[in-house]
Structures are given as structure tokens and as C-alpha cells.
Symmetry: C2
Subunit: 202 residues, 2 copies
Amino acid sequence: MLADPSRAAMVLALMDGRSRSAKKLALDAGVSAQTASTHLRKLVDANMLVWQGEGRSKYFRLAGADVAQAVEALSTLDVPRALPAAARELRFARCCYDHLAGRLGVALTERLLQPGNTVLRDLGIDLAALESSRRPLFRCCTDWTERRPHVAGALGAALLQRYKDERWLAAVQESRKLVVTSAGKSAFSRLFDLPPAFFAQD
Amino acid sequence: MLADPSRAAMVLALMDGRSRSAKKLALDAGVSAQTASTHLRKLVDANMLVWQGEGRSKYFRLAGADVAQAVEALSTLDVPRALPAAARELRFARCCYDHLAGRLGVALTERLLQPGNTVLRDLGIDLAALESSRRPLFRCCTDWTERRPHVAGALGAALLQRYKDERWLAAVQESRKLVVTSAGKSAFSRLFDLPPAFFAQD
DNA sequence: CAAACGGTTCGACGGCTGTCGAAGTGTTCC
DNA sequence: GGAACACTTCGACAGCCGTCGAACCGTTTG
């Protein structure tokens, strides 16, 4: 399924976890509407996408976190060669389906795994509630830009949600890119013990 | 690369992390030697396999843990449909490149993530030494049989090595399957607090 | 040295599938 | 009601690529 360039482009365009119309996906992939329609049908039949009708439009999104993780894992294989310019701006912070990825995601994950840290408690993340959800609490994606793990799963999703609610991170229109607000810089520095210079990489 | 059935079969046959000759891989994939040769060349060019000459034979193996993880992540996508009979025996315990996967891998991972456990200390795993290695200490694969995470990365490899050294697990010839020895059953039950009935699933 | 064997290269065949034009269905908007 | 629009289906074309037979190279074995 992912071997075809058009389908790959569509799936990559949906890697932010949001929905897109068939027409927009056709534009993303650079093919006609008919071609896009056949591809989208195949992806839905393969349980990789789901759709939702809204008026005369059809909005598609990834079927689940497992699809996103597979794409991310595949991306790590091709990446040793230089990153394309378009991907350059995704290096620092982006969303990977429903959680945080990129240098920031990897750095926060490393701090989170250090024994003795109290970040989750400080953030008021209710682990017990998350564990009761059916999806795995903890999972790692291998970051395709950093080639190191970042937190995914229910915990990863809850953390990104919190960051957005607190206005520490903001989503960029039509992109997976996330920007760190000034409030976010000070909050991340404080909670995760990151040097202020870290954010100069963005 | 993985979209072709022959190449997929070859890569799957190498998922145990060991090496196989070109001829054996041709048999695994059910194609002629010429066809296998072209596929293997492509896989090497794509940095997914590496090879090593030995006499008039050529032995291939996976290029790294990232390849194995991508394959494992992709496998989770198609698996909702019933498992092929050949895969049935891999459900309980198998090696995934260099670490433990399957029901046992998932169960041990869950115990390992419970706060307050002392398993790593009891096993005498030297986390400091592992951290100094270049590869990430901690990573998760999403298990394609269980659809839940299991420990990979340097820690996952060190754990499997320890289990083998202790003769708790034994590799099955020409297969990814791992069998739990009777010493292993009692050791896992004790260290990870698993009920003895757990091993009846095997 | 000759035979056997593992692997590779070349060339030709054949099938699969991605592509778009054209036409059709259902929805929205004026 | 009619025009514009989003999406789908059908059909035909074209190109890509997996496949194997045949021939070739290098190593091993008797």
C-alpha cells in the first residue's frame, strides 16, 4: 500500500492526525481526482484510513495510531541521506498522529525516563485513568529525524493534549509542524530541566 | 521494497537476526536463484540487508534493528485477519531481531514498567553500561501478534541475551520461535510474578 | 583437470497497476 | 430548476517490474 508514491504522499499528509478532503489529498499527491479516489478506496479497504462524509465532501484520516507508527518506523529507514528541505522545518517539533515528535519530543522523552523525575506528577497526569483506556499506556515511536525514541501511546497523546491546552505548543495550519510559544519555552525549561539554548535550534 | 512478496518473505526469514545464504533465502521465498539474486541486490542497495562472503556462499542478515522494527510495525497493520498457521507457533515467544517478543515479551514488559519493581536490579543488568552504548537504551516495538508494546533497544537485547545465557530460553533451529525451559518457567514466575498457568498458553 | 555448486548477468516475456479522459451520481447554492 | 461542485465508475493505455531460461564467473571438491 505504501509503496505507491501517490498513496504514500496522501498518508504522509494525514500524519498530523487531522482529516483532509479527497480533493485536498489529490492535490497533495499531485494526481487527478479520479486517481485519488481509487487510491483512497484501497487505503480504506486496507484499514489504513477511515472517512466521514460531510455534505458533498468526504474527509479522510488515519485509521489509528498503529498506522502512524508504521509510517514513522518506515521513514527511519530512508532518512540517513540528507533530509529534503521540506522536512527540515519538521525537525524540531511536530506532531506524529496524536503525540509530540522531533528533537523536542525526543529530549522530553529522555528526561521523562530518568529515574526519580516528578514530571508526570507535576503536570497532574492521571496515570490510573490512562491505564483504564484500552490502548497501551506507553509506547515508543522511533523518531525518523532523530533516530531515537519518543513517547507515544495513551501517555504520549495525553501529554501533547496538555501542552496544547496550556498553550505551550501551537499547531501550524496544514502542517505537522508545532511551534513552541514563549510560555512553552519557560515551562519546558523549568519542568524538564532543559537549557534555554535548546530552543535556539528551532 | 517490502511490497514485493518475494522480498517480504526474505526479510521475514531474516527477522531472527541471524544470517542466511542466498540459496536458502531463494527457497524461503519460493523463487529461482536468479530472481533471489536481483532481490537481494536491491535490498542491500536499500540499506536493509548486509552480507558477508564465506567461500562461494554469501550470507545475508538484516542491516540493523531499525529494519526489524519497521517490519514489526508494518506487520501489526495486516494482522487483524486471522494469523496464518505458520505464524501461530510464534505467538507465545519469539525473537524480534535481537530481543524477546510475543505474549511473553509483552507480559514481561508490562511487569518491567510497573513502578517500584526491582527486576533489572535482581537480574544485575548494568544500565549505566548500556547507556554508554550508542544505540538507544530503551525502545518499544509494537508486537504484531499482541498489538501491545514489548521492550526493544539496547535494554531489550541485553535482556534476551541474559535469558539465553541463563538457559531460560532456547532458540529453535531455523526459526524465530523461542522455547521456555523449565528453569525459565520458574525463574520468570519468580522474578516477574507471573502465574505458572501463564506458560500453559505456549 | 573436470565436475559440481553458489551466485550473477542478460534478455525476453507477461502481468499487474497507476494514470487519466469521459461519463454518471448525489449535493449544494443561487 | 439549473449550474457548479465533490466524488465515483468505467475503460483504455502505458510503463514498470517480477520472473525465469540461458549463459557466465569464481570457488570447492574429487
